[in-house]
Symmetry: C2
Subunit: 471 residues, 2 copies
């Protein structure tokens, strides 16, 4: 992913080395400069990389030589089977959303926004500034940089109505990305073997974290209108669960945005059962035709634990999120976060704060919302025209994807495979269900690279669908 | 910690705001420029910070105003007590090593090297370069940047004798700091409720991670000569444990460096019991009069899981470590690491690789070793002169601290408190014992700020000690 001319030289020399005997001398720097039309600095960098990789060794004043390659014996690690034992709870494989794919495919699967949707200029400038401050070599407090805690608190406070005590900076725990936040919240508030209610379908990262922690997942049916409040109340009663994980604003994968009435009903239910709502607001910055509505802003009784990530909207390299939690639960969360990662890189925290404090951040978000809407509408139109069998459940008002229902007769696995071999990557809906899927769904992301390919992508999907549904 | 003139203005204005009524208008930018003798850009930055903190709101074209402060009601979060239940395994409080302290004390407690011992110039340049590459907005593969995997593998391979298959890049999993590596290794290889052997005393971060995961800790007596191999064999036999956590090179807190003979005996024991050695090589870069001796280099049977961190020697802001593990155990480790943190920031990985690939890194390490030795010797001499009752267990050949035994009659808590009130912060040895401490120890770090204060620090310790031992 980090192409530059030194990588090119490394690749070329690795090929050369593969065909050379151990101890062979590499061409001189001067010869390499000529062959690769690169500067001596670039050639030296390539040689340093090869040295670090153990491919060559340099003898100062003599030259650079191919290292004697040691033959690797094949090993049998069978003894580990007994040492490891059967896994208590199997962590699922990585879903399609994280699969790396070649550049030349039409990628409708990745849950991360394309680079052109990210504030690259702001992030670069922020790294430049952070590298000139104490953040570069400093160790921030375990709960995070006070200024960044303040920012997270103030953002949520700005949505808090009169009559509700707004959240304070001390309620915020900074964590290295929202995935850590999910693991920590599930571990600290629920714990292995204890019940956790989750929307179904829901964010696959939460399903992963739940499996890792080993909580007992209890699915609550959900859809474009959000979770069924009656089913939620029944699930609390029957399971004795003390926590419900949900995404009230532009939920993954359905795009649901809870109405204020639903938020109120869920809060009532949670309060009645002396339970937590673990609110994952990961799509906060991705509203298109509606603003996010954090349920946490309605609660000052410590019932809502609020997770707000910046990695997805700022940069995947800025793994920073805030967990807002009041009461003794905060101590549990902080103790777990510290035991897990000690503290979050001060540079990443300073960069996150810098980016979201710029006036240009607001401008960027407005432009982003517009771009997402244009992409969403283009993908919707492409499906209508070329894949009429693929029915979006609804037009989402925020988020990065459509949640699309396929005809019941569809062989989902075959469709996904056929699309893949035709160069179109889509995510089978199964991965978003904590239990069995309730229908044939695919998740189609409109925030990925090259929206110009949407019509062609839809055409391929339509063709694959046609096979199962010809009769 | 990030002092600049905009912070100064923020601090000044917060005071002003505290005395102003809600809705009051702030002085104009021009007036603030004059009052604080700062540039308009700096003043604007301060105002943006206050806005983000919810202290003020700006009305474009009108001015900036103190926000109406909402009164916070005190809350009782008693209901959470029932929801959280009793904690399965209590995570200990943060130890002295992580306590933030004022600048004017003599700090002999922190386990992190002082800023002047870190390669600040290299790190700054590396951040500058990384921010100009694809790492800035890219998402690296879950197991890490291939070039960085190669570097970790090559470093260990360079210590691997002929006849042992060297480790390969694919055996490396990049993780966000060594604390995550400990949690992940304990979770993936041992699991809650199952036995884990640990040296006693040992690194407090490992004790913390073991408590978080909820493993059953079985202490193995250890000291400057490393763990007692007979006690280790007995502990394996009696507990049925399948893993032993240890620091063979400059162990925390004792400074032990295992002899090749001890390494061989421990490896034999581990192999005989079909078990893992979880080798934490966190002091790898801190050899003074000896080089580290990774036990992992002696093993190609998958018995040694090797943890190598770069945060301590590169920068606390570069939270990057490598876990080297072969066989199916690698799959367990990778699955847990992904469920916990998904992937490690590409910028931090690129920075780590850049720093350790520079020729100047070698120069830095040589200088660092010399500086550490000078500091160690100064602290030893200071103790000999001013605190003869404080007896270092041995002269460590690497690491960041002395492990000092106090006379048996010492009231350790009183000594630590008295030193603190006299402005000298030291770590009570208790924190390094997974069970009861076996003697009166303190850990004295010579890698902290201002070695010039060591004689004064030793004088204060000597005075505090004298009280208990006058008779």
């Amino acid at each position: 992913m980090f192409d530059d001319s030194s990588s090119r030289i490394v690749a070329g020399l690795r090929e050369w080395i593969a065909g050379a005997p151990p101890g062979a001398r590499l061409p001189s720097t001067r010869a390499l400069v000529a062959r690769y039309e690169a500067s001596p600095v670039t050639v030296q960098k390539a040689l340093r990389t090869l040295t670090a990789q153990g491919m060559v060794e340099s003898r100062p004043g003599v030259g650079t030589f191919v290292r004697a390659v040691r033959v690797a014996r094949p090993h049998d690690y069978g003894w580990q089977t007994a040492a490891l034992g059967a896994s208590n709870h199997r962590i699922p494989r990585l879903p399609a959303a994280l699969q790396p794919v070649p550049n030349d495919v039409i990628a409708l699967h990745s849950g991360y926004p394309d680079r052109e949707l990210l504030p690259e200029r702001l992030v670069r400038a922020a790294f430049g500034r952070a590298a000139r401050t104490g953040a570069l070599m400093g160790r921030p407090p375990p709960a995070g940089l006070p200024e960044l805690q303040s920012w997270f608190a103030a953002e949520l406070a700005s949505a808090t109505p009169a009559g509700v005590t707004p959240t304070a900076a001390r309620d915020v725990v900074i964590i290295p990305g929202s995935q850590c936040g999910l693991s920590t919240a599930f571990r600290a508030l629920v714990g292995a073997g204890r019940p956790l209610l989750m929307e179904s379908p829901t964010y696959w990262g939460a399903i992963l974290a739940a499996a890792q922690v080993g909580v007992q997942v209890i699915p609550v049916p959900s859809g474009f209108d959000g979770p069924d409040p009656d089913a939620l109340a029944r699930a609390f009663e029957q399971s004795g669960a003390r926590a419900f994980y949900a995404q009230p604003s532009f939920a993954g994968p359905t795009g649901a945005l809870w109405t204020p009435e639903l938020a109120e009903r869920v809060l009532d239910t949670v309060r009645r059962h002396g339970a937590f709502l673990i609110e994952d607001d990961s799509a906060h910055d991705f509203g298109m035709t509606a603003d996010p509505r954090p349920v946490a802003a309605q609660d000052d009784g410590g019932h809502v634990v609020y997770l707000r990530s910046l990695s997805k909207s700022v940069s995947p390299a800025v793994r920073v999120a805030g967990l807002i939690v009041r009461g003794p639960a905060r101590e549990r969360i902080l103790a777990d976060a510290q035991a897990e990662s000690m503290y979050v890189s001060g540079v990443l925290q300073a960069v996150a704060l810098d980016v979201v404090s710029q006036p240009a951040w607001g401008t960027h978000l407005r432009r982003l919302r517009h771009q997402l809407k244009v992409r969403r509408d283009l993908l919707l139109a492409s499906l209508r025209e070329h894949a009429p069998g693929a029915q979006p459940e609804a037009v989402p008002r925020g988020g990065l994807n459509l949640w699309v229902r396929l005809p019941d007769a569809t062989d989902l696995g075959r469709v996904v495979r056929e699309c893949k071999s035709a160069g179109v990557i889509i995510g089978a809906g199964d991965e978003w269900f904590p239990a069995e899927p309730t229908g044939q769904f695919v998740r189609l992301v409109y925030a990925g690279p090259d929206p110009g390919s949407f019509p062609e992508g839809a055409r391929v999907i339509g063709k694959a669908l046609a096979k199962d549904n010809q009769s």
